[in-house]
C-alpha cells in the first residue's frame, strides 16, 4: 500500500513574512486557489475526505434508481422524499449528539411513538390547544432525557440498558395512553398536519431564503478571513470563497426550480435543515459543542480540564430525547394520526444507522450534525427508490440490505488508504 507520492515543490528559503501557522518548514506550502485544489487532491488520495464518499454513494444510488425508474428524480418524488426524510432526520440529529458523547439511545422509537400518542390524546381527545400539546410532548421528552442522564451519571448504569428499559417502558406508556381508543386521527385541517403535509415555500420565498443563506456564508467566510489575517494567520484565497458561494447558489437555485415544478420546498424539510444548521453551529462554535466532543473523545481528560462532564452527558441525552419526540410529532402530523405502531418497527435502527452512515462514530467524539442530513437522505433514497420498483417484500428486504451495504462499502473503500497513512 505504499503508493509513491509525486514530488512536491518545496521552497527551502524561508519567505520574509509567513503566517504564524505556516512557519514550519516541513509543511507543504500551497497558495491560492490551485493550492486549495491540490490540497484537496492530496486529501482525496490519502482518504481524508469526510463525507465526500457517502455523498458520491448517494449520487450513484440516485443515478441507478433513476435508470431503473425514470420517475425517481421527478419533482413529485423528490418532494415526497423530502417529506419522508424530515421526521426521521430530526430523530437522527438527536442520535448524532448522543453518539458524539459515546452513548446510545435505543428508546428514540418508543419516545417518538409516545410523543404522537401524547399529541393525539391531549390535542384531539382532550381538546388542548395544539401548542400546549406540542410543548407538553417536548417537555416530557426532555424530562425523560434528564432522567436517563441522571441514572447514567449518578449510578453509572450504561445508557444501552437504561434506554432499553426506556424502549419497553415507553412502549407500554404509549399503549396505555392510546389504550382505549387505539389510533387517533389528527384533524386534517389542524396547522400541524398542514405543516407536515401541505405547507410549501412559494418559489419567490424559497429563492429569497437561498439567497440569504448564500449571502450569510459569504459574509461569514470573509469576516473569518479578515480576522485570521489580523491575527497573523494564513487564509485561503478570496477566489475560493467566491467560487464556493457561486456553486452553492447554483445548486440551490436548480433544486428549488426543479421542486417548484411540483409542490415546492416543504416547510417541514426546511425546519429540519434549519435544525441541522443550528446544531452544527452549536457543536462547532460554542463551548458546549466543544465540550461534547471532548467528553466523547476522552471523558477523563475532559473531567480533568474542569468540564462539568455530567452536565454534558445530561444535555446530550436530553437533546436526543427531545428531538426524538419532535420527530415523533412530525411523523404523526405527516401520518395525520397517532397510532399504536408509531415509532415501532425499524425507527430506532434506521435513525441510528442514518447517523452512522452519515459519518458519526459509534465510539464518540467524531461526527457532525450534517451527518444526520446526509445519512437520512441516503437511507430514505434507498427505501423510496425500492418502493418505486414494486418488488415483493422478500426481495425488497434483500435489496435494501444489499444497497445499504454497497453504500457503506463505497464509503469504506475510499477511506481504506487512511489506515496506511497512519491516521487510523
Amino acid at each position: 500500500m505504499s503508493s509513491s507520492t509525486p514530488p512536491e515543490t518545496r521552497d527551502n528559503s524561508a519567505p520574509t513574512t509567513v503566517a504564524a501557522d505556516l512557519q514550519d518548514e516541513r509543511l507543504t506550502r500551497r497558495e491560492g486557489l490551485r493550492g486549495v485544489l491540490s490540497g484537496f487532491a492530496t486529501r482525496v488520495r490519502t482518504g481524508d475526505i469526510g463525507s465526500l464518499p457517502v455523498f458520491l454513494g448517494l449520487i450513484l444510488i440516485w443515478i441507478v434508481f433513476q435508470i431503473l425508474n425514470p420517475r425517481f428524480l421527478s419533482a413529485t418524488n423528490l418532494v415526497d422524499l423530502t417529506l419522508q426524510c424530515a421526521p426521521l432526520g430530526v430523530i437522527a440529529l438527536g442520535v448524532v449528539v448522543v453518539l458524539l458523547v459515546a452513548q446510545i439511545d435505543l428508546s428514540i422509537g418508543s419516545l417518538s411513538g409516545l410523543a404522537s400518542a401524547i399529541l393525539g390524546v391531549t390535542f384531539v381527545s382532550w381538546s388542548w390547544p395544539i401548542w400546549l400539546s406540542i410543548v407538553a410532548a417536548l417537555a416530557i421528552g426532555a424530562l425523560i432525557g434528564y432522567v436517563y442522564g441522571f441514572l447514567f451519571t449518578r449510578f453509572g448504569v450504561p445508557t444501552f440498558v437504561v434506554t432499553l428499559a426506556g424502549l419497553m417502558g415507553f412502549l407500554g406508556v404509549q399503549l396505555w395512553v392510546l389504550g382505549p381508543s387505539g389510533t387517533i386521527n389528527l384533524p386534517y385541517s389542524s396547522w400541524i398536519v398542514q405543516f407536515a403535509t401541505s405547507w410549501f415555500l412559494p418559489p419567490w420565498l424559497a429563492y429569497t431564503v437561498a439567497g440569504l443563506v448564500v449571502l450569510g456564508i459569504v459574509v461569514n467566510d470573509v469576516t473569518k478571513a479578515r480576522r485570521r489575517t489580523k491575527s497573523g494567520l494564513s487564509t485561503g484565497p478570496i477566489s475560493f470563497i467566491v467560487i464556493k458561494a457561486i456553486v452553492i447558489a447554483i445548486v440551490a437555485a436548480a433544486a428549488i426550480t426543479w421542486l417548484a415544478t411540483n409542490r415546492g420546498v416543504s416547510v417541514m424539510f426546511l425546519v429540519f435543515i434549519v435544525l441541522v444548521a443550528i446544531m452544527a453551529t452549536l457543536l462547532t462554535r460554542t463551548r458546549w459543542g466543544r465540550w461534547i466532543y471532548a467528553v466523547g473523545g476522552n471523558e477523563e481528560a475532559a473531567r480533568r480540564a474542569g468540564i462539568n462532564v455530567k452536565a454534558i452527558y445530561i444535555s446530550a441525552l436530553m437533546i436526543g430525547t427531545t428531538l426524538a419526540t419532535l420527530g415523533g410529532l412530525m411523523a404523526a402530523a405527516r401520518l395525520t394520526a397517532a397510532s399504536i405502531s408509531s415509532g415501532g418497527g425499524t425507527t430506532n435502527l434506521v435513525a441510528i444507522a442514518a447517523a452512522v452512515i452519515g459519518g458519526t462514530s459509534l465510539f464518540g467524539g467524531r461526527g457532525s450534525a450534517w451527518s444526520a442530513l446526509l445519512g437520512i437522505v441516503v437511507i430514505q433514497s434507498i427505501f423510496n427508490g425500492l418502493t418505486l420498483l414494486n418488488l415483493s417484500s422478500d426481495a425488497q428486504f434483500m435489496v435494501t440490505g444489499a444497497v445499504l451495504l454497497l453504500a457503506v462499502i463505497i464509503d469504506a473503500l475510499s477511506r481504506r488508504s487512511r489506515a496506511s497513512h497512519g491516521t487510523a
Partner: protein
C-alpha cells in the same frame, strides 16, 4: 526518617506553607499506594518530589488534583483545611496540574486542547484569537509543532507533552504541579521548561516538580522530597545534598544499581 519540619524552611521560615498535606494514605485494592505521606509547599518555592517507579508520586498528584480521593489525611490550603472532591475544585483552589498521562483529548486539535474548559470569546468561541495565542504559547516552549489544527492523536510524544505543559500556563494558578513534565521532551524543550519553572518561582508560585532526572531536579528545585514505597523517605535542601544521597534515599540503599553501574563504568559522567 526526616520530616519537613526538621529541616530549615526555605526563605521565610515564619511564613505559612501555601499547601500542606498530612498523613495522606491511599490504597487500591490490596496495594497501599500511599501511607501517611506529608508534604509542604511554600509560595515561591520549587519542591521536587522524587522516588522510584510506583513510589506513589502520581497518586499523590492525583489526590491534589481531585482525581482520586485520599482514604485519610488532611490537606491545608492557604491555612485552611480543604477537601478536593473533583478536578474542578482543585482548579478553583488555584492548583494547575500537568498529568503524567497528559490527559489530552485525542480527537481534538491542539488549539482546542490548549484552551479546553477555558475557551476564549464571548458566546461563540473565538478561534482566531485562540490560534494566535496557541502559537505564542508553543513558541515560548520551543515547541516543534508543524500545525495546531491537527488532532493531538497525530502528534509526537514530546509534542503532546509540550501541549500539556502549555495548558498549565493558561489561567492564574497559585500552585503548579508538573508530573514528569520533561520525560518526553527534547533537550531544547527541556531547557525551556526549566526556564519556565524558574519564571514561575519568580512570580511567587509554588511548584511541585516530579522528575526522575536528578540533573533537572538539582538545577531548579529548592527542596527535594523523597517517597519510597508509598512512604516519606527524607526531605533535603537541594543545596545541601549530593546526587548520591538522593539516589540512596530513593532506592533505600547506598548499594544500588546506579552506584554499582557507576562503579563499573568509571568513565561515565556522574550525573548519568
Amino acid at each position: 526518617m526526616t520530616l519537613a519540619s526538621e529541616i530549615d524552611e526555605p526563605r521565610a521560615s515564619a511564613r505559612e506553607p501555601v499547601l500542606s498535606i498530612r498523613n495522606i494514605s491511599k490504597g487500591f485494592g490490596a496495594v497501599r499506594a500511599l501511607t501517611d505521606v506529608e508534604l509542604d509547599v511554600y509560595a515561591g518555592e520549587v519542591v521536587a518530589l522524587v522516588g522510584d517507579n510506583g513510589a506513589g508520586k502520581s497518586t499523590l498528584v492525583k489526590i491534589l488534583a481531585g482525581v482520586h480521593s485520599a482514604d485519610h489525611g488532611t490537606i491545608t490550603f492557604n491555612g485552611s483545611p480543604v477537601s478536593i472532591p473533583s478536578p474542578t475544585a482543585s482548579r478553583e483552589l488555584g492548583i494547575a496540574t500537568v498529568f503524567q498521562d497528559l490527559a489530552l483529548c485525542d480527537n481534538l486539535d491542539v488549539v482546542a486542547n490548549l484552551f479546553l474548559g477555558r475557551e476564549l470569546g464571548t458566546g461563540m468561541i473565538n478561534e482566531e484569537l485562540m490560534e494566535q495565542r496557541s502559537w505564542e504559547l508553543l513558541r515560548q516552549l520551543s515547541a516543534k509543532i508543524p500545525s495546531v489544527r491537527i488532532a493531538v492523536a497525530s502528534l509526537s510524544g514530546g509534542q503532546r507533552q509540550t501541549v500539556a505543559i502549555a495548558r498549565s500556563l493558561i489561567g492564574e494558578p497559585q500552585i503548579v504541579i508538573l508530573d514528569e513534565p520533561t520525560a518526553a521532551l527534547g533537550v531544547a524543550q527541556t531547557a525551556e521548561v526549566l526556564n519556565l519553572i524558574e519564571r514561575l518561582r519568580e512570580r511567587g508560585l509554588g511548584v511541585i516538580l516530579i522528575s526522575h532526572n536528578m540533573a533537572d531536579v538539582q538545577a531548579v528545585a529548592d527542596r527535594v522530597v523523597v517517597l519510597r514505597l508509598g512512604r516519606n523517605n527524607g526531605v533535603f535542601r537541594t543545596a545541601d545534598v549530593s546526587y548520591e544521597d538522593i539516589v540512596a534515599a530513593i532506592t533505600g540503599a547506598t548499594d544500588n544499581p546506579v552506584s554499582s553501574r557507576s562503579a563499573a563504568h568509571p568513565t561515565e559522567k556522574d550525573a548519568l
